[in-house]
């Protein structure tokens, strides 16, 4: 199994190559420069794993939620590569990848992923470690104001993501739990790759043109009101 993964939904930009049990990855916190570096990152991890594009079995991408431009970049790059090589695509939630990073980092098995969504909102999702050794969604992913978060968590749940940097106190007060957290973790391509590896074995892949972003926030335009009309 050989799988290329990319993740550009947050400030971090990353690419990874999964080759059976081995992972080659590269990441960089590079706000607004993802477009300049993502393809060379892909080329670097392929070179590290001595793999050519034609040897890949699939390509995975962080489908969001996250910065709109970032998730679209991941989707458009994925579509381009997959169409050119006629590869299947495995979409992976960026919140799930973030939860997976918490397991890799501190062996957390219950995680509350929270990404700052700007405009006084967060993208949030609760995950638990499953028998496939990956993080699995509990309930649903949401975009919500931090003081409206109604996840039921126990004390062992671990918080991760940029949402905790901005709203740790509000989140803890709202849920009535003083959770430990790490606000410096990002979703990374290596975590996307690990999740995608399992999804792919479970036949959860799509075609190149179905590699689409998940924004969660959909009320992005207001219809004009009170325009003078004669």
């Amino acid at each position: 199994m050989k799988l290329l993964a990319i993740e550009t939904a947050t400030e971090s930009c990353s690419a990874a190559l999964l080759d059976n049990n081995e992972i080659f990855s590269i990441n960089e916190v590079a706000p607004r420069r993802h477009n300049e570096i993502i393809l060379s990152m892909c080329e670097q991890v392929l070179a590290q794993g001595q793999t050519s594009l034609s040897q890949l079995d699939a390509i995975a991408f962080g489908r969001g939620p996250g910065a709109f431009t970032g998730v679209r970049l991941a989707a458009s790059v994925t579509q381009g590569i997959a169409l050119g090589q006629d590869l299947p695509v495995v979409p992976v939630s960026s919140l799930a990848a973030l939860a997976q990073s918490a397991f890799e980092s501190v062996q957390a098995t219950q995680v509350l992923s929270c990404i700052d969504a700007r405009m006084q909102e967060v993208y949030i999702g609760q995950y638990k470690f499953n028998v496939h050794k990956i993080m699995e969604l509990v309930g649903e992913e949401k975009v919500t104001p931090p003081n409206m978060v109604n996840e039921e968590v126990n004390d062992k749940c671990y918080g991760v993501g940029s949402g905790w940097k901005t709203y740790a106190r509000v989140l803890q007060e709202t849920m009535g739990k003083k959770l430990s957290y790490d606000e410096e973790l990002y979703p990374q391509a290596e975590h996307v790759a690990k999740l995608a590896n399992v999804y792919f074995q479970q036949d959860n892949s799509v075609s190149a043109v179905e590699a689409l972003p998940v924004y969660l926030r959909d009320n992005v335009a207001k219809k004009p009101k009170n325009k003078m009309v004669f």
Binding site: N35, E36, I37, I38, L39, S40, C42, E43, L53, F68, T69, R72, L73, A75, S76, V77, T78, Q79, G80, I81, A82, L83, G84, Q85, A208, V209, A211, L212, P213, Y215, V220, A221, K222, K223, P224, K227, M228, V229, F230
Partner: protein, 345 residues
């Protein structure tokens, strides 16, 4: 040699395939007009979201139409990298650059306006250099002298609203839907051209620049005055008369400046491109006035006039001839240039 072209700079998603020996092999376009119509103009975030949904399927359709395979039959990917909406451009650029990398072929960055200026070359009967191009659309109002491929001089441009924008805003004042051009043209047919006389902005002084925001304000003030007099909503005939006066003012202005541009630059051919170029009054007036002066006006086919990918693929083909085998001029970066002057090419 075959080039696949991708256009996504504003509210049209387009894909085309062109061959140096067999011409245009596929030309696909999806317009977002209906998506943006309720908002009275293009909403950038919605445009980007739609491009990513439509681009892949259009590429597949284009390949199917031309009966070609990507990796085997396409020699380069050309894409619009500017000017235009940042997010919209990024979808096309990310997709195109990655696709080119995936099939190990060059990616060619295309200037959207240059592609418009050279669009007439797609067709079998095309104008000879030098020519002057009048580019009139929702985003642009430009007069450009084209001496040869790669040699462009901007003679004049709008200092405020683009002419298509003026149509849209005026249509909105008259309660007409977006886009305003075809709507105003339709309403103006029943108008009395003699009832109102609107200004022809900046025609009473030398120079080739345009200004349309004052004209829009003139429409607004006229309507306000009429409503004040009538104490009720303005009747259909009056609205048609206003639409007619507005259209006449725009058409006259574009015609006066185009003739002036031709005379000043010693060119005898005018090429009209962009969506507003579809306006019937404009076409008729330019044809008549230029014929009297022994000049010629050339209209690309409507599908090459508005935003399209055939013009992108075609310019890509021209650029490809200057790219050495195995070279990739853009490197591995995905780059867009939302603001990009034509003269800096």
């Amino acid at each position: 040699m075959r080039v696949l072209g991708i256009e996504s700079s504003c509210d049209e998603t387009a894909v085309a395939i062109i061959s140096d020996s067999d011409g245009l092999l596929a030309n696909k376009l999806y317009s977002q007009i209906e998506l943006h119509s309720p908002y009275g103009g293009v909403v950038p975030e919605l445009a980007s979201r739609d491009h990513i949904r439509k681009l892949g399927p259009l590429v597949k359709e284009a390949l199917h139409d031309a009966n070609l395979e990507l990796a085997k039959d396409i020699d380069a990917i050309a894409y619009t990298s500017g000017p235009g909406l940042m997010g919209a451009l990024m979808v096309g650029a990310g997709f195109a650059r990655s696709l080119a990398w995936s099939i190990n072929k060059p990616a060619i960055s295309i200037h959207h306006m240059e592609a418009h200026l050279l669009a007439p070359l797609i067709e079998s009967i095309s104008p000879e250099f030098p020519y002057v191009a009048l580019l009139v659309s929702g985003g642009h109002t430009l007069l450009v002298k084209i001496d040869a491929i790669g040699s462009y001089r901007i003679l004049g441009e709008s200092i405020d609203d683009a002419v298509g924008e003026a149509f849209d805003k005026t249509a909105q004042l008259l309660g007409l839907p977006y886009p305003g051009g075809p709507q105003i043209q339709q309403l103006a047919k029943h108008g009395n051209a003699k009832r109102f006389n609107f200004p022809r902005p900046m025609t009473d002084r030398p120079g080739l620049d345009f200004s349309f925001s004052g004209l829009k304000t003139h429409v607004l003030n006229t309507l306000k005055e009429l409503q004040g007099n009538q104490q009720h909503s303005i009747d259909e005939q009056t609205r048609a008369d206003v639409a007619c006066a507005f259209e006449d003012a725009v058409v006259d202005t574009l015609r006066i400046k185009s003739v002036r541009a031709l005379e000043q630059s010693n060119a005898e051919t005018l090429v009209v491109a962009g969506g507003v170029g579809a306006n019937k009054k404009l076409r008729q007036q330019l044809k008549e006035k230029l014929a009297k002066k022994g000049m010629e006006v050339f209209y690309p086919a409507p599908e090459f006039c508005t935003d399209n990918a055939a013009m992108v693929a075609q310019l890509g083909l021209l650029h490809l001839q200057n790219i050495a085998q195995g070279e990739n001029p853009q490197g591995l970066q995905i780059k867009v240039r939302p603001r990009w002057s034509l003269e800096s090419i």
